[in-house]
């Protein structure tokens, strides 16, 4: 009997210990279950994130586009002219006999498909620059263009007009010419479309090519050009940077410096963007558009005028940068630009009066 309390106590104690162990075991199970769930959830999230990153990488690498919602494509009965929201596509005479384009159905289907692609590319460039040309772009396809299958061009048709006693340049149309061979190349299409977007500002040739190659290489993933060392400058006999003197016209044929010029001009454009950020060029073109002084400039746009706007967009003077690259430029003020425009207008008006009186 004296042992009973002790026995009872011992029993009670083992019951309590058992119960405590059981609760611990249950809690441990719950903890493992909950932690397991969290780990699984985290794994799932990281997997989804990885998938998302892979998709973005692949979209950039293969330059894929969504199908545009509304291309507004209108195909003519003979398939020789196809219109969409931003383009007019036509086939050069030498394609009318081409085995792939000699029937209306072939022209309609391939032409329609091409404009779906071009409309997507248009949106792609619009996102890069933040503006678009006001005119429809006329795309003309050829089998052979200017005697070759290796040259595509974009021409901006501009005309001088007198407005309020001042001469201004007015864009009348944009025309892109491609041999079929080059129209199949996505980077080439992107290059030419970059010209169609930016050349409405009548840019100096070196800068225009730099911007087009920049789009071609960095966005359309073209491999024909690469960046070069900015300090390895090719000079003219006058000791100036050979890129600045470039007319960009390849009709006379490429010379020994052509490839270097493309690469060098692209490197300058890319360098400026890297220094001043992703939104630098949209900002630069917005400044040009707000002022519209480019329309009133006499002759071709000088690099000093271009650098005036580049400096404004950058928020710092870029004249020393260009001078260090052996560009022949000077720092301009707005007053100096306006004065030059005024003087040019006076000269042109005087010439016009003289021409009229001679007649």
């Amino acid at each position: 009997m004296p042992n009973l309390p002790f026995t009872r106590n011992t029993k009670k104690s083992s019951w309590q210990v058992g119960r405590q162990l059981y609760y611990c075991w249950l809690m441990g199970l719950a903890w493992i279950f909950l932690t397991g769930c969290t780990i699984l959830q985290e794994l799932q999230e990281s997997n989804l994130k990885r998938q998302q990153e892979t998709r973005v990488r692949m979209k950039e690498r293969y330059v894929t586009f969504e199908a545009p919602d509304d291309t507004g494509v209108n195909v003519s009965g003979d398939g020789l002219e196809i219109d969409s929201v931003h383009y007019k596509l036509s086939f050069g005479p030498d394609l009318h006999q081409h085995p792939d384009y000699d029937t209306p159905t072939e022209r309609q289907q391939i032409g329609h498909g091409s404009l779906v692609f071009m409309e997507s590319l248009y949106q792609f460039l619009y996102r890069i620059f933040g503006f678009e040309p006001k005119h429809k772009i006329h795309v003309i396809l050829h089998d052979i263009y200017r005697g070759t299958k290796l040259m595509a061009t974009t021409t901006i048709h501009a005309q001088n007009r007198m407005q309020n006693g001042q001469i201004i340049k007015v864009i009348q149309g944009i025309e892109m010419n491609f041999p079929l061979n080059m129209f199949g190349e996505r980077p080439v299409r992107a290059h030419e479309l970059a010209h169609a977007f930016t050349n409405i500002y009548l840019l100096p040739a070196w800068f225009s090519e730099g911007i087009a190659v920049w789009v071609e290489v960095e966005y359309a993933k073209g491999k024909d050009h690469r960046s070069v060392d900015l300090n390895e400058i090719k000079l003219t006999l006058d000791g100036l940077n050979a890129a600045q003197e470039w007319s960009g016209d390849l009709d006379a044929g490429a010379d020994a410096l052509t490839q270097w010029r493309y690469n060098y001009c692209y490197t300058i454009v890319a360098e400026i963007k890297d220094r001043f950020g992703e939104d630098f060029y949209p900002k630069f073109f917005k400044l040009m558009e707000e002022d519209k002084l480019y329309q009133r400039l006499p002759g071709n746009m000088p690099t000093s005028f271009l650098v005036y706007y580049l400096s404004q967009a950058a928020g710092e003077d870029l004249v020393p940068f260009f001078q260090s690259l052996k560009f022949k430029i000077q720092k301009l003020s707005r007053d100096e630009i306006l004065k030059a425009i005024q003087q040019a207008n006076q000269t042109l008006r005087r010439q016009k009066r003289n021409d009229e009186s001679e007649e």
Binding site: Y22, R50, S120
Partner: protein, 203 residues
Amino acid sequence: MNLKNNTLKLAVCQLLPIFVFCLLYFSLMGCKALQVLATSQEWSENYTLMAGTTCNDPAMIDGNLETIGETKYLEGASKQSVRGYMVPSEGVVILPESKSINKLVIYSQNLQAFDLFALETNGNWKHVQEVKNMTERQLTLNLRIPVYTSGLKIRVEKTSDDDALRRQNIQKIRGVSMFSGHTKALAKISEIEIYGFVQSPVE
């Protein structure tokens, strides 16, 4: 007796929640299995028409058989070289999310042979199937093993336009082949459609 009762009580108390938990688990799993068994499998909508799907030529995924898109040459090798002229072209479709894919339908007027690849999570392309003799304009490719992926790639091996292009771009001068352009034509594809299974309850 008392001790025996307590042990029994303890065992019942410990085992009962586990038993209840297992019962609940199996009943839930059983429900799920029954649900799967009680559903029929139907073809999904065409995944390429999902918002956010992209392609390296969007004419191939615009849902319009009247528009023809073209595969694109691989960028890499210099174009002005024999290697550059011999590169194949590819059609790439990226879906906005991963899907289990069981069927592909390709409408093309010149595609004859191609390799199909699926995008893996690590960014590699896994070879899925080789198609060697596409003779009809419409090819329905039922995948023996479904692939779970967010991207498909068609690498063009042969088109009916290759011979003509080679005649045009390769000239033999004194026994030496001179290349002046691509030797593999781009595949003209009107549409790529991608399908998986969806479950719908049996009525």
